[in-house]
């Protein structure tokens, strides 16, 4: 289970309960940005949870911060809370001050541009440049932002790095795998939380909606579909929790948590279809509408599933690495969670 106790998790849960009621994601999608929600998160210092104390943050436990992320995803957070947490963490790992305002992140790829989640709303963009072991901060507001097609209501923009002035930049000893581990784990937690919320919506709906003279919930066909979805949700939560726990365990070297993070990405990415399909099926046409809440979750699940590479990409990457280790080592990983003994480490 994701740890939803502790000050960070509880503060975030309270803010999301108070300031992100069900109409808020709807209004955000209609163009009314929930500034009060973002301000409350900032006033409580939550986007600095993973910034070290020496750097102006409060070095909170990874563990309970994942609880805060869980709460934000359950509320269909229309502000870049998780993105800012990740961006500030990256800055901190290069010894740079946290971003002033909200932020999103990018990893350098083979192109001079990147797709930025929440790109229309983030004040800053933090880039990890793998080739130069460098982390840089850009002013997103000053940049020309071109919206990209996105499945998510949070939107995405394309950012072209060349031609923009770096506000701050520093060398880092952190690896791409360490950053991947954190991002994949954050997404896994968000996805597990969104799945569970969508499951709850589905259960409520089938208990209320009557067809053929009785509630939908009384039909065995409906029960079996939701039971399968619930088992996928339970597995997703376990995978996300294992990844979160690995990050917490390897706080100094998140690269060590890479396998658990990828396992969560693969497990949950493959589950998305297995849950969103029954959720929409049992909701009938209602689940297909803008006015109902379900799409806040299913659209984000579809977007997060593709982010940083889809489940097929990561299944293959994981399999490639495992194939290079011995079957004994694979068994050791499955049974003890120790994936580090294999002969292959770097990619």
């Amino acid at each position: 289970m994701i740890n939803t106790e502790g000050m960070v998790a509880e503060t975030a849960t309270k803010i999301y309960t108070d300031l992100c009621a069900r109409e808020v994601p709807h209004e955000a999608e209609a163009g009314k940005y929930p500034q009060a929600l973002w301000d409350a998160l900032t006033e409580n210092g939550l986007p600095l949870a993973w910034v070290s104390e020496a750097n102006g943050g409060f070095g909170a436990d990874y563990d309970e911060t994942f609880g805060a992320i869980w709460a934000s995803a359950q509320a269909a957070s229309p502000v870049p809370f998780a993105e800012t947490l990740i961006a500030n963490w990256m800055l901190d790992r290069a010894g740079l001050a946290p971003a002033d305002g909200s932020a999103s992140f990018a990893l350098s790829g083979h192109t001079p541009s990147a797709d930025i989640p929440f790109g229309m709303h983030a004040d800053k963009i933090v880039l990890f440049d793998e080739a130069h072991h460098e982390i840089s901060l850009f002013d997103n507001r000053a940049a020309v932002r071109s919206p990209e097609e996105s499945l998510s209501p949070d939107g995405m923009t394309q950012f072209i790095f060349s031609g923009h002035v770096v506000e701050q930049s520093a060398k880092t000893d952190i690896s791409r795998r360490a950053i991947e581990a954190l991002i994949l784990t954050v997404r896994a937690v968000q996805m597990a939380a969104a799945m569970e919320t969508a499951l709850n919506l589905s259960i409520d709906y089938v208990c209320q909606r009557e067809q053929f003279g009785r509630p939908l919930s009384k039909f065995q066909a409906i029960q079996q579909q939701l039971a399968v979805a619930a088992s996928e949700c339970a597995a997703a939560t376990m995978a996300a929790t294992q990844a979160a726990s690995a990050i917490a365990r390897h706080a100094d070297d998140p690269e060590q948590a890479w396998h658990e993070a990828v396992i969560a990405k693969v497990q949950i990415g493959h589950s998305v279809e297995a849950v969103t399909e029954p959720f929409h099926q049992v909701h009938g046409a209602m689940g297909y509408t803008q006015e109902y809440d379900l799409h806040h979750y299913t659209r984000r699940l579809w977007a997060w599933r593709d982010a940083l590479g889809n489940e097929f990409h990561w299944s293959k990457r994981l399999g490639e690495e495992l194939a290079l280790t011995s079957p004994d080592q694979i068994w050791k990983g499955v049974t003890t969670g120790d994936w580090t003994g294999g002969k292959v480490v770097a990619s």
Partner: protein, 384 residues
């Protein structure tokens, strides 16, 4: 609030020494030709000689006290033994059910004499039990059992038939769910009791059922005026239903629900080595992600069980997901083996794959069908 309770429990390094000992033993036995690894080994692969060796090493009866021949170890140590024997496809079928299910039942409900007599023999790998739940007219509809036990002077007289009793032909006892008084109106759960039956008694007839793989581990067991003493009633008269459902929760979350076919994957991995293509890599990655996740869920439940918590719904979830994975694993490995020309498959690979395919249908049946598992989950979700 999160809906299900699956605590994340870190592996315990103290348990890894036990794991190494088991691995060394199993490797030695396998290399000496004392067994040939098989999928579904805990159901279909029974070898009393092997069970006795396991008993001698102290790997049966780990959890009960030395007073009854046990080893005063934790349920988590038992979990390691379970995992390692499944992984290597060892012939553990003779003692598996007695160790997992009936020894704890005897500890809870048996007389002191029974405990002193039977438990040390189970721990030694010399005494085996069969499950007596299913009947021809009552599979998943367990409350529909018709076999009855009638109170007679100094005991019970049993008449009827059980079916699908794995290993009954080599077992010494069966614990059967029997009707000891009529159902109370439409409530069929009352009037059921659990009774331990010595299978060597007069009136017991055991007939093998050959399954589609050619194995004969299933049996039909007939009871004709079989008389057992009073103290063979386990637990409360009429309390059989509650006892059985409690027991099923324990048996549904163990590693045998998702690792029964692991040997197929492992054999293929040794075969494929560096010959795997990218499609196979993707299949491997997904299988290992699923296995790791299920291991976490099952290990979490094992820890709850060791604290005395018995989460019925979580166990049903593990069984449903695990059974799906077991069958999926065999199918995925079939696809992965396309990377290797069929003539390059080792005889063992071919044998294990064929057994895996032939033994896949019961995965989603035994211990409660998938549909029943989903019914349990649906009830927990508030849909029933």
């Amino acid at each position: 609030m999160q809906r299900f309770n699956f605590p994340v429990v870190q592996p315990d390094p103290a348990l890894e020494e036990l794991r190494s000992e088991l691995q060394a033993f199993l490797k030695e036995e396998r290399e000496a030709g004392n067994y040939r690894p098989e999928p579904e080994c805990w159901m279909a692969s029974a070898d009393p000689e092997f069970s006795k060796k396991m008993g001698k090493r102290g790997w049966i009866g780990l959890t009960w006290s030395s007073q009854y021949g046990g080893h005063d170890k934790s349920a988590l140590e038992r979990y390691i033994v379970t995992e390692e024997t499944l992984r290597s496809g060892a012939p553990v079928g003779a003692h598996w059910i007695a160790d997992r299910q009936h020894a704890p039942m005897l500890l809870a409900h048996g007389t002191e004499e029974q405990k002193l007599d039977i438990l040390p023999r189970i721990a030694a790998g010399e005494c085996y039990f069969a499950i007596g739940l299913s009947e021809p007219g009552a599979g998943s509809d367990l409350a529909n059992v018709k076999t009855r036990a009638e109170k007679v002077a100094d005991g019970w007289k049993i008449n009827g038939q059980k079916i699908w009793s794995s290993g009954a032909h080599i077992s010494h006892y069966m614990v059967a769910l029997l009707r000891t008084s009529p159902a109370d109106g439409r409530n069929r759960h009352v009037g059921l009791s659990q009774i331990m039956i010595d299978l060597s008694l007069p009136g017991v007839t055991i007939k093998p059922i050959v399954d589609l793989s050619g194995d004969a581990h299933f049996n039909e067991v007939y009871f004709e005026d079989v008389i057992v003493p009073d103290d063979c009633l386990l637990g409360e008269e009429g309390g059989g239903w509650a006892q059985v459902t409690g027991e099923l929760a324990m048996e549904r979350s163990g590693p045998e629900r998702f690792l029964s076919s692991y040997i197929t994957l492992e054999t293929a991995l040794w075969q494929l080595s560096d010959k795997m293509g990218s499609d196979s890599h993707a299949r491997l990655g997904k299988l290992i992600a699923n296995l790791s996740t299920l291991k976490g869920m099952s290990w979490g439940i094992a820890n709850l069980l060791s604290q005395g918590v018995s989460p019925e719904t979580e166990a049903a979830l593990v069984k449903d997901l695990g059974n799906r994975l077991e069958n999926d694993l065999t199918q995925q490995v079939r696809a992965m083996l396309n990377d290797l020309p069929a003539e390059d498959w080792s005889p063992d690979m071919r044998r294990i794959m064929n057994i895996g395919v032939l033994r896949s249908p019961p995965n989603t049946l035994r211990g409660g069908t998938t549909e029943v598992m989903r019914g349990i989950t649906a009830r927990q979700l508030g849909l029933r």
